[in-house]
């Protein structure tokens, strides 16, 4: 036993020598003006939301060419303590901007923004902000959803589109409704069937949900959940698939397009403001116009006239001449969502509480 201990101790010693030889890379005088700490909910290679955010960070670093640097932590749970200590560690590491890329990280940002007035906290989604160093940012994903709905409606033969959705609440319902409106614009007979899986990140359930929709006759699958499992399920059954969050094709030939985030746009914008000292919290809402919201190149499976139509409307969105929610729109229970001749503004859109006519849940 003693001999064994001695060997162990010797090994520990060897390690310490190795360690002493290790290089200590210290930051020598660089011209980094902002150091950003990114807090991600998933892994950076998830092919979805977190990957989109991570690649945005990388692109932004390139954009600022030496003036911006970042560190990140992936797989952070939506647990305020976990988020707070992660952010505190980042501040210790010299970060002066914290970008928290999940809704559940908001409370931690809110608390820390009070305690650390010199640090800027940028929270994806939600509505919390203050007047100096805490802002939220989001985007008009309904625009991209509308365009993908057009693409979907142009290829369906069964006139049934499937939509795998996380939870039944405003954000998700905005997407479903915009998608439906886009689809109806191309093909008025189309019907959108929705499966709520009541979770964000359960690939198995996403797959099951997609299969349920395929069983119900859907031949195009769109989704609002974290993984690309729905795409895979659709391709397996030779149905069309539409991606989300990140332009990742997991369905091969059956991939139509994707509605996705292009967060570099916001990072460049907000970080530039911080560098210039002109940052003011504004509850940023990106659009197709500034490029935060994007749609992947549309597959050639979509008839060329529809592709042209999609490009037209996209241009109108960029020009600000097209509103997704233009009346008359009725909830599926018959109540009015938007009067004829009216359009919904951001506040109106974020007051949606149900699905519109043409949508049915299974």
């Amino acid at each position: 036993m003693k001999k064994f201990l001695a060997i162990l101790l010797a090994l520990v010693m060897v390690f310490s020598f190795v360690a002493c030889g290790g290089d200590e890379n210290t930051d020598e005088g660089s011209d980094v003006q902002v150091k950003v700490g990114y807090i991600f909910i998933g892994p950076i290679n998830d092919g979805g939301f977190t990957q989109a955010m991570y690649e945005g960070a990388v692109a932004s670093k390139e954009h600022f060419a030496g003036k911006m640097d970042f560190i990140y932590r992936e797989n952070v749970a939506e647990d305020t303590q976990e988020v707070k200590s992660t952010a505190l560690n980042m501040i210790d590491e010299g970060c002066n901007v914290i970008i928290a890329c999940s809704f559940g990280f908001g409370d931690a940002m809110n608390e820390l923004s009070g305690e650390y007035p010199d640090i800027t906290f940028l929270h994806f989604s939600g509505a919390m902000k203050n007047d100096t160093n805490f802002d939220n940012w989001f985007g008009s994903m309904e625009q991209a959803r509308y365009l993908t709905g057009m693409a979907a409606a142009s290829v369906t033969e069964s006139n049934i589109l499937g939509y795998v959705a996380a939870h039944p609440y405003t954000e998700v319902q905005i997407g479903i409704n915009a998608f439906t409106l886009g689809a109806q614009a191309v093909n008025p007979d189309v019907e959108v069937k929705v499966v709520y899986i009541n979770t964000w990140g359960d690939a198995e359930l996403e797959k099951t949900g997609a299969e349920q929709l395929l069983d119900a006759g859907a031949d195009v699958i769109c989704y609002h959940a974290d993984s690309t499992a729905a795409q895979l399920a659709a391709a397996e059954r030779d149905a069309w698939a539409i991606g989300w969050n990140y332009p990742k094709n997991d369905a091969g030939d059956k991939y139509l397009t994707a509605a996705y985030w292009n967060p570099e746009v916001y990072f460049n914008y907000a970080l530039q403001n911080i560098m210039d000292g002109t940052f003011v919290p504004e509850s940023y809402y990106g659009t197709m116009a500034d490029g935060l919201i994007a749609i992947d190149e549309v597959s050639e499976a979509v008839p060329v006239e529809v592709r042209n139509q999609i490009n037209d409307i996209k241009q109108q969105m960029i020009d600000g001449t097209f509103e997704v929610f233009t009346g008359p729109i009725y909830y599926k229970d018959g109540t009015v969502l938007c009067e004829e001749g009216q359009t919904l503004d951001r506040a109106g859109i974020w007051s949606i509480t149900n699905e519109i006519q043409g949508v049915s849940a299974i």
């Binding site: 064994f4 520990v12 390690f15 560190i71 749970a77 647990d79 303590q81 809704f103 939870h167």
Partner: protein, 360 residues
């Protein structure tokens, strides 16, 4: 070569300590080897873990804040485990405790004095956590159901229930369409002492409580007897159903308190992830402490260091979250593995060594 495994009967304290130290050293060496394979400098990693958990005052506070739910949950689990009632349902009991506390916080007037409010929240949390543990306990006591599966399943019910509240009836209309339950009013937030929420005082009180309860009360004695032999307990005239139910009410009640602390001091609202995995993680320190309340506190503090240090590791060295999980896992593997060597002896080769078992 011939390998035999023999159960030990007794071991001198000194040897026990040597084995435990060896386990820790082994874990460091092996974790180090793995890190070298990843091309990382192990000593720097270990130093970073220490630095990340104890390096500054704020980090020490963060470590203790994590130790609070871990310790109280472990204490709750100890009470159940002592009875050999495998309560895997702490996660759900924490969640339901948080639910109870939240109901009180959001429904009673904001003008209520803080101590009254907090006390009511604690009572509600203990009740809800206790009830969540009581249900499987009752089924076990009356119908002999398997508590492991039952308590495990109760977790999912609790978490899904809170998810439903968060996205449904309790969704805050002022959250701009996002799924969020309203924030607690100021009188429902646990105050801090020395920069740490007073959960740490509650934690210390519970350590003392469980220690006394398990060792110096009739109920604690009964729980130990039931855990050792239900037949003996029956024979001694104990009301086994009542003991099981009482113990589980206490166990679940403590877990409920964890839910109250987490919702009041940390989240300041209710979220579906309120338990944050503590209900499962705490099983390990509960077991490592050999169901002793005081050791549980020490083990939980060490655990909290490991978790907090792991967080810092990722941030400061920019390494993947998998690496810090591997380091944590390796250390656990050896420390848990040493338990095996404390109970069994492995004999190599033909040479006979004296075996230590009961004399036949």
């Amino acid at each position: 070569m011939n390998i035999r495994i023999i159960k030990r009967s007794d071991m001198p304290k000194r040897q026990e300590i040597i084995i435990r130290i060896a386990a820790v050293l082994m874990s460091i060496v092996f974790a180090g080897l793995i890190l070298v394979i990843f091309g990382l400098n192990p000593l720097k990693i270990f130093a970073t873990i220490i630095k990340g958990s104890l390096g500054t005052e704020i980090r020490i506070q963060q470590t203790i804040i994590r130790a609070i739910p871990l310790t109280i949950t472990a204490l709750g689990i100890i009470v159940a485990f002592k009875m050999k009632f495998w309560n895997i349902g702490a996660e759900g009991q924490i969640t339901m405790g948080a639910f109870g506390a939240t109901w009180v916080a959001l429904n009673l007037p904001e003008t209520l004095p803080m101590p009254v409010m907090l006390l009511l929240m604690m009572i509600a949390a203990m009740l809800c956590g206790g009830i969540w543990a009581f249900i499987p306990a009752m089924f076990k006591a009356k119908m002999g159901t398997n508590e492991t599966i039952f308590t495990l399943m109760m977790n999912y019910i609790a978490i899904k229930f809170v998810t439903y509240l968060q996205y449904g009836p309790w969704m805050d209309p002022n959250a701009g369409g996002f799924p969020k339950i309203a924030k607690f009013p100021a009188n429902a937030v646990l105050p801090s002492v020395f920069g740490i929420n007073i959960g740490w005082i509650i934690m210390l009180l519970f350590v003392v409580f469980v220690h006394i309860f398990m060792n110096y009360t009739k109920k604690g004695y009964e729980i130990a007897v039931v855990g050792e032999s239900v037949e003996t307990a029956r024979y001694a005239g104990m009301n086994i159903s009542r003991i099981i139910i009482t113990a589980m009410l206490i166990s679940g009640g403590m877990c409920g308190i964890v839910g109250m602390i987490q919702s009041s001091a940390i989240e300041k609202t209710l979220i579906s992830n309120i338990a944050g995995g503590y209900g499962f993680t705490a099983i390990i320190p509960a077991w490592l402490s050999r169901l002793n309340a005081v050791s549980a506190l020490i083990v939980c503090l060490a655990f909290a260091m490991l978790i907090q240090g792991g967080t810092y590791l990722q941030v400061s060295l920019g390494i993947s979250s998998a690496v810090s999980s591997i380091v944590q896992g390796t250390i656990l593997f050896f420390v848990l593995g040493s338990e095996f060597f404390l109970q069994y002896k492995v004999i190599f080769g033909k040479k006979s060594v004296k075996a230590e078992t009961e004399v036949a």
